[in-house]
Symmetry: C2
Subunit: 185 residues, 2 copies
């Protein structure tokens, strides 16, 4: 399976690989248990600190782990992992070890206990910033504390879920930097 | 400028054009004033009803209008509008009429007062579902009440912001319907 060479990445640039709306894989751990879930419902909520809101169903096994550990890793997969993403989505961490079942490599993180997924293009170690909305809105607010992004390619072919078993993959890049006011960049 | 033939669209399929994470244009109106803002920080929060969370800065002129009217239209532009999107992002509705300045056509909606943008591929009329988090999190929760989507193409080239004046455009489609459990579709 394809793996990426990772490098440290400025935290406030993490939005580059989150804000475009890709499916991400949430890595979690508590005690000896680890899990991975797919997530498409997330949004940036602040650049500095890097805050990311996401929606986790009450039924998801990951919910239990992240509520206990208050940590997760947001891993950004690329198109080569699309089948693995679907398998992760269609199985439960309550029944299987997804790292083992889907041949993914857990990597120790620097700042938290949950594992990175080596095969993913970008990884963001997160601490739970605010859990006040979990019960009423199922909304978790994460603070990115350490980011890694592959050295190449610069523009990854991320996958974006359309529902109904269908994905869109990241296409061409368009640069309009010169049209922006300096303070808007 | 390119316009789309619109048709009514099932509300619970609206996620198809939101969840992939495109830049959207928020149309708003209050009394005789209308406005348009760009938005990249949004996420699905429920399918039925179609709930969408989004982040609107306190400084945005749109914030005033939507707080007063409790309505907005989420318009999904495609790549042909990328320059217009940048211009909308780099100007303020407090100073100009963006529909007029950028040659966009406001269209009357069915269920609410804010205007659709004719030139956009998909449109979702929304009512403010919950404003409780506006002050603490700048988070608005919208309920889609009526959707329109162009008859073609089926897979629009939406634009996705990477920050720093750069966009990714929607690329190829990948279908994995058969790999999903029926209850996951």
């Amino acid at each position: 399976m394809h793996t990426y060479r990772k490098r440290d990445y400025p935290l406030n640039d993490a939005r580059r690989h989150i804000e475009t709306g890709p499916i991400v894989l949430i890595g979690s751990a508590h005690k000896r248990e680890t899990n991975i879930m797919t997530m498409g419902w997330h949004m940036m909520m602040e650049l500095e600190p890097a805050l990311i809101g996401c929606y986790i169903w009450t039924e998801n096994h990951t919910r239990k782990l992240v509520m206990a550990s208050k940590e997760c890793v947001i891993n950004v997969p690329t198109v080569d992992l699309v089948d693995t993403v679907v398998k992760i989505d269609n199985s439960s961490g309550a029944e299987i070890d997804k790292f083992e079942a889907f041949d993914l490599t857990p990597v120790k993180t620097t700042k938290i206990g949950a594992p990175l997924i080596k095969e993913c293009y970008a990884k963001l170690e997160c601490r739970l910033h605010d859990a006040r909305l979990v019960r009423t809105y199922r909304r978790f607010l994460w603070e990115g504390v350490k980011a890694y992004v592959a050295t190449s390619p610069k523009n990854p072919r991320t996958i974006h879920f359309r529902g109904n078993g269908e994905f869109m993959t990241a296409g061409e890049t368009i640069i309009r930097r010169r049209m922006f006011k300096p303070e808007m960049l």
